[in-house]
Symmetry: D2
Subunit: 377 residues, 4 copies
């Protein structure tokens, strides 16, 4: 089976997300890095692309060049990854989808809800895949959790409680560091800080595992470092279409929490717990029974969990392999074997609607607001 | 040093709280169980008291008998513990305080805010100790956390996040079991279910460690088992007098969480974490530094942590010893050495004000309300 | 039910083991401290005893005085606890047993195997209880483990692996501190250092849970701090009467391990794991199945586990309550309800035989030696 | 920088080790799978190689074909991975080294000590790299531990304690399953079962972190499932060239332990602990200080730890990335930047000497024997 051709925009040398995508795309041998526009400095990007093995004529200076160059090649890239600054996601994703490319867009997919709706419509119209990199949802034990909820193994879900709270922006003396400051500056980060950055991963995860959608929410935002205009800590209560109660806490000033992404799902007949710092385990408790530790690779897991595991039980697979699982799903989808776990444009849109809803609620002292994008109401 | 005479009301055979109080009072040899009215069935209570070594003439049939019997004895009890059903706490505590006895009252101290204010006034007027059994606050590593916050070791506190969430009422098929049902029935439990039962422990703990008071709050209540009139799950956001942001989640349907009481305190220069299932450790992270595991009994702890530890480092001390620490503080206070960590009537009153505020907020779709009792506004 | 009269020898003010015994004996209200000889300085001991509530005429200067004073009293103590320096255990225990008292002796019960055999014979002859304070075996979840092994829930036991390794003597600059040094000085500690101090707890535990006895062993001793004559680290491989393979590691230089007592039992159809730093859980894995977390207080535990728990599930009970469980078993045994979990003189003797066997093996480069006392061969 | 050409022998479809090598070699984009002989069934291997993107003329039927085919190509493979059955490692590795290829050999490198010595000599003579896949040693936090020991951060190492114990062969009813049985059959597995399979990883790790070599050892082997000729459980005590005391336990019947590879290193001024199920943390305790949790990706780690980390702190990197780190070291070494952490033929030889020494010791009732290969004595 020939490898698929893959193109990458953004994620240049020294970026954090770049290596994760490259490992994710390359690790399973299903993609070749065939084209790239890696840096906002054209020469730097070209040079780095060539160092990564991209042919000189496909090492582009920017995304418009890449679009022009790839558009009409017979061996044009099968998939484009968009890992540029947030404000450019919409424009680039739109352009490539319209040119008939499949796209994997980093989160957030867009800045506004309207843009999000447009991407959803374009993806529908063109029939191209527009995936969004909610990569945590591709951990095998998250797929397992989703399979268990779907199979009714914990009954109707009553309650989902999730947090994504770290402390890496907790140092006020470092708050003016440009690497940190932009995240809390509306001019650069948009309407929301921590909730848009990390909270939406948690919100997506809640919907993903429960196979459900957030309908309304109430938010409490705080800028615990006073110089920040946008929130560095947020609590969001929500309700879903199926009536589940949701609680989501996200923070960047929780000093001592390194990653702090976890989720707990409580149903009528059982509970599930998972934490990203130990992603290979899923903790399951049947009502009235003992807590059980489920392990990636154990016998009897769901097909999805099995398909997305590579090495034996208790050999940990980490974040890079979760990203690789997104690329596995993409390779399959491109070849026509659709994976319903792959997060797509509607998920990206719902996140943006939730961000704007949370901002509105927080401004209105926690009033409950509709969290759905207009097109899904 | 002669032992102090101790009297107990409620907490009869088979009750859960009774043994904890008896171990707590007796373990350190500072109290003798001298009088008791242990059961709502007078004969049963008398008989059990005598089995516990109480003299026949001080094994009372009910609390009024005990009050009458003890009032004028020269060797009358130094301390009365009130461990009766919640609705009776006010009346009994009031009567004994007014008769000049020191009292340890189980939580909740009262049912209404007005009653709470009355107890505070009586305690003040009589000069008697009215303690409330927020026993978790007496764990050595909680006292350590409080000492560290006071000493500025984590700087100004920005954020406190706490949960007290278990799953022991998560089985809908058991919801009509009388042992469970009363907790969600307003006729028996009052205005609040899970928040009044467990949430106030967490709220007290947040105030206790931070040496601060809750001023306003916003609540989201849910009855995830629909037959329940009162909430079995609640999220409460709050703010404190010093401007700290607070987040409190409490649930009784979190299947798989056995006890689930934990607290995280995040300040300008560090974070602290503690969980009741591993109470002998306090996890501390200085900003920009590594997470450290502090252990009960290690060198260099605060005086309070040292005073309330009994056995060497890494020999766990559990819940009964936390209750015993409340009795240690009481014995010292009765003898005139006041321990400022001992939770007293104002703490009990604040809890009741918070319960009523949370109920009001939840009814008003999470509107922010004043959480303070009128007398402390 | 009248309380039993209890006498204590050793364990004076400032000692570590004294408070554990007093809490253990008093917490459940079954014993009164009626007599005591607490300190090697007669006046100090008498004064402290009186401060603890002992009547002046029963606050003795030393154990011989106490023996003389108690021997003929009609209200003489029902139980004597011996918590004096190791080298005196034999003499005191022997004297009190022969005078018809029940005795709880701290470990090690004796210094030599011959003395141990003599104590076993005296206890048999007099019909008095001679218990040894292997208190870890009284944790509810250890009793549960034993019950499960006995019930065949993990099948024939193939392998038991235990360690008791801490780092509190790991600082060479503190090695001459008298509080530490004596433990590695044969003149004061006898033939063995760390193995006799902590290792025998682990060895007892292995036998206790498996309901089995060590028959042969091979030891590797090391003095990792060279100035020490006796071992501060030891590995002991052993075999039991039923053919189980055993592995025991004990160390006092394992810097970072605070307590480090744990045990794993592997049978034909399952495995069990327990650690003293989280004593309220027992980890159970059926062969081919998932690991389950068993909790003190959960439904369906063995009678022994239930009997020795005081507070609800997930309210931790720690080391002092384990000691209290030994006193519960003693109180029952004194009143005629024999508890077969109570560790007695034969267990104390077997430990001493194992210590001497391990020393001999270590000297003979790990040769396998008989670990049984002659009287049990 | 052009990619290096990589060839793979063994590790065909359905094998466990194959995917780990492919991910390891491909994930960082430094190698291309250019040639392969993947299966003992020539056609199956060729077909699979082509599916993996290998050109038809380099999809070989067996290793001899591959050697002949690659030997004289100008674009011949830069590195050959040998992942065939253990008994063939020696012959293949020897042949490729002698033909001037660099080799990564799966462990065990050889079956006999003599063969191991021969490989060491050939690697020396040819100047080719002969690496052995002790991939756990390539986890960033293991490299960090080694760097800390080298820098004297825990002082002279007194004691190293390691285990590699799982329970996946603990089911006697599955013991005749061919997938399991061969491991305990001397005809197929050689002189040792579990120690040769897992124990040598732990032994290598101890040497690796401590930068030291095992000199003598004493072993206790057990076949806890009686039908097994070779051991399924082993304890090995050892001493190193620098006088460190070592303790190693390995088991395949430890039901409930999924992976169970951990190591603890105790020095004069501190202790380190690591476990493969949470590989991104290293637990460090300075003598007299608090235990600290070190995290992959935290500030201030050693150059080696930094170089071998890909994603940010608390984003776990697992087993496949550890294998990838071996390939990183190989790519660097091939290009002339030698990485001293890369395990090479002498490490493979020392393992075989230790296996034979342990077998001899176990047969001699644990007698202490020389564990060094003759050429290193």
């Amino acid at each position: 089976m020939a490898k698929l051709n893959w193109g990458m925009i953004g994620g240049g040398e020294g970026s954090q997300i770049g290596p994760a995508h490259r490992i994710g795309a390359l690790a399973d041998g299903r993609f070749t890095l065939a084209a790239a526009a890696l840096d906002h400095r054209p020469d730097v990007g070209r040079e780095y692309a060539m160092r990564l093995g991209v042919a000189a004529d496909r090492a582009y200076g920017d995304w418009t060049e890449m679009l022009a160059g790839e558009r009409n090649r017979p061996d044009r890239v099968d998939l484009v990854t968009v890992a540029t600054p947030n404000s450019t996601h919409f424009e680039i994703t739109k352009a490539f989808l319209e040119a008939g490319f499949h796209v994997l867009c980093e989160k957030p997919m867009t800045v506004t809800v309207e843009e999000g709706e447009e991407i959803v419509r374009i993806a529908e119209k063109t029939g191209r895949i527009c995936a969004v990199n909610y990569c945590y949802s591709a951990y095998p034990m998250i797929r397992q959790a989703r399979a268990m909820v779907r199979a009714g193994e914990i009954g109707r879900v009553r309650l989902v409680v999730t947090s994504f709270s770290h402390g890496h922006h907790g140092d006020a003396t470092d708050a003016d560091n440009p690497r940190v400051r932009w995240r809390y500056d509306p001019a650069m980060a948009g309407v929301s800080g921590q909730f848009a950055d990390c909270g939406i991963h948690a919100l997506h995860m809640a919907s993903f595992i429960c196979d459900d959608e957030v309908t309304t929410l109430s938010a409490d935002f705080a800028s615990t470092i006073p110089s920040r205009e946008l929130e560095d800590d947020a609590m969001v209560n929500f309700r879903t279409a199926r009536g589940t109660v949701g609680r989501l806490w996200t923070s960047s000033v929780a000093i001592g929490r390194q990653h702090g992404f976890d989720i707990q799902v409580f149903g009528e007949t059982g509970g599930l717990r998972w934490a990203s710092e130990q992603p290979n385990q899923l903790i399951y408790t049947p009502v009235g029974g003992r807590t059980q530790i489920m392990e990636k690779g154990e016998a009897g897991l769901s097909d999805e969990a099995k398909r997305l595991s590579r090495v034996a039980i208790a050999h940990p697979e980490g974040f890079p392999m979760a990203v690789a699982n997104i690329y596995c799903d993409l390779a399959d989808a491109i070849r026509g074997e659709v994976r319903d776990g792959l997060p797509r444009a509607p998920a990206g849109l719902r996140s943006m609607a939730a961000v704007h809803a949370a901002v509105a609620s927080a401004k209105a002292q926690g009033a409950w607001v509709d969290a759905r994008p207009p097109m899904f109401r």
